[in-house]
């Protein structure tokens, strides 16, 4: 595996919080991701519809957090893959917290996470026998999340929230890419393979 986890961790934390000097983000998008979602609301277009979509996104993040927890506790992951899984879970926790804050600021009620046992059952965690199985499940979930976030972008009334969805998709794509690398899979041969 060609991953240096510490470097990935340091860089992604800086970028996620919008402090990277190389990124140009709108004030509203930075506000939401930094936890000041009331600033993002000023740009919202159709709040009720947008809250519904954000709620679905929150459901995806709850599931991803649980999936990585199940993987980490399975005893099937070895370092440095285990460290990578924990790092990716921290990204999803960051997504979750930002989504919850935004939903609440927009007057919505964030859905609560189910129990890990519920997620384990729904994801078929009982069939995971080795590290490859865990990584395969994680890669499938990350690819699904990438496509889901890309797919909802046109549905947001708020262009700022649409941009946030694009940034979430970028994180999931990064996760999928590294998981695929760990699984020894080739990169996609065709262009525009995500969100089709």
């Amino acid at each position: 595996m060609l991953i240096r986890v510490n470097e990935v961790q340091d860089n992604s934390r800086r970028n996620f919080m919008g402090r990277s000097s190389g990124m140009l983000l709108s004030g509203a998008a930075i506000a939401m991701l930094a936890g000041n979602s009331h600033l993002a609301l000023a740009a919202a277009g159709d709040p009720a519809s947008d809250v519904g979509i954000l709620g679905v996104a929150l459901g995806l993040e709850h599931e991803a957090i649980a999936a990585y927890q199940l993987g980490a506790e399975s005893g099937l992951l070895q370092k440095p893959v285990l460290d990578l899984a924990v790092l990716f879970q921290s990204h999803h926790k960051g997504h979750r917290d930002a989504l919850i804050a935004t939903i609440e600021k927009m007057g919505g009620k964030p859905i609560a996470a189910k129990s890990n046992a519920d997620y384990a059952s729904a994801l078929g965690a009982g069939s995971l026998k080795n590290q490859t199985d865990v990584l395969t499940l994680a890669a499938r979930l990350e690819l699904g999340a990438t496509n889901a976030y890309l797919g909802v972008i046109p549905s947001f009334g708020s262009r700022e929230l649409a941009k946030v969805a694009a940034r979430l998709a970028a994180d999931e794509t990064m996760h999928w890419t590294l998981l695929s690398n760990a699984l020894g899979r080739p990169v996609p041969a065709a262009a525009l393979s995500f969100g089709a």
């Binding site: 009720a48 519809s49 519904g52 979509i53 709620g55 679905v56 459901g59 995806l60 599931e63 859905i111 059952s121 729904a122 994801l123 078929g124 499938r140 979930l141 699904g144 999340a145 496509n147 889901a148 797919g151 909802v152 549905s155 947001f156 089709a196």
Partner: protein, 126 residues
């Protein structure tokens, strides 16, 4: 060599069959599309972010046991069949205003293939 009438007829038949095959919904392609487009939130047998899909044909919208639907879905008077699924996938909000699925499948052939797959995995009789 002269091309006889049987050869011409056979060619025409094969061309027609190929065109028909291209137009018919493809459940196999639908399975791939389902995994790609729907699999983030849905599964066939387990409720996840969205409700499970096996047996969706003939089922009333918002009626899967144990799934926490929006009020819009719970109160919808829609029964899932090929037509309602096509309308839902094309524009969920247009079919059931106030629902929460922000995802759509704009291409009609993609929708038809996904619906064919859902029919294929559902119990017979619908």
């Amino acid at each position: 060599m002269r091309i006889g009438a049987p050869h011409v007829l056979l060619s025409a038949y094969l061309a027609l069959a190929a065109a028909q095959a291209a137009a018919d919904p493809d459940a196999g392609r639908g399975e791939m599309l389902y995994e790609q487009r729907c699999g983030a939130c849905h599964g066939l047998d387990a409720n996840r972010v969205g409700p499970h899909h096996r047996g969706i044909f003939g089922r009333r919208a918002g009626s899967v046991e144990g799934f926490d639907y929006s009020a819009a879905l719970r109160n919808a008077r829609v029964v899932w069949n090929s037509d309602t699924l096509d309308a839902w996938l094309a524009n969920p909000e247009a079919l059931i205003p106030g629902q929460r699925m922000g995802y759509s499948v704009p291409d009609a052939m993609d929708r038809a293939d996904i619906i064919a797959y859902l029919r294929w995995v559902s119990p017979k009789g619908h």
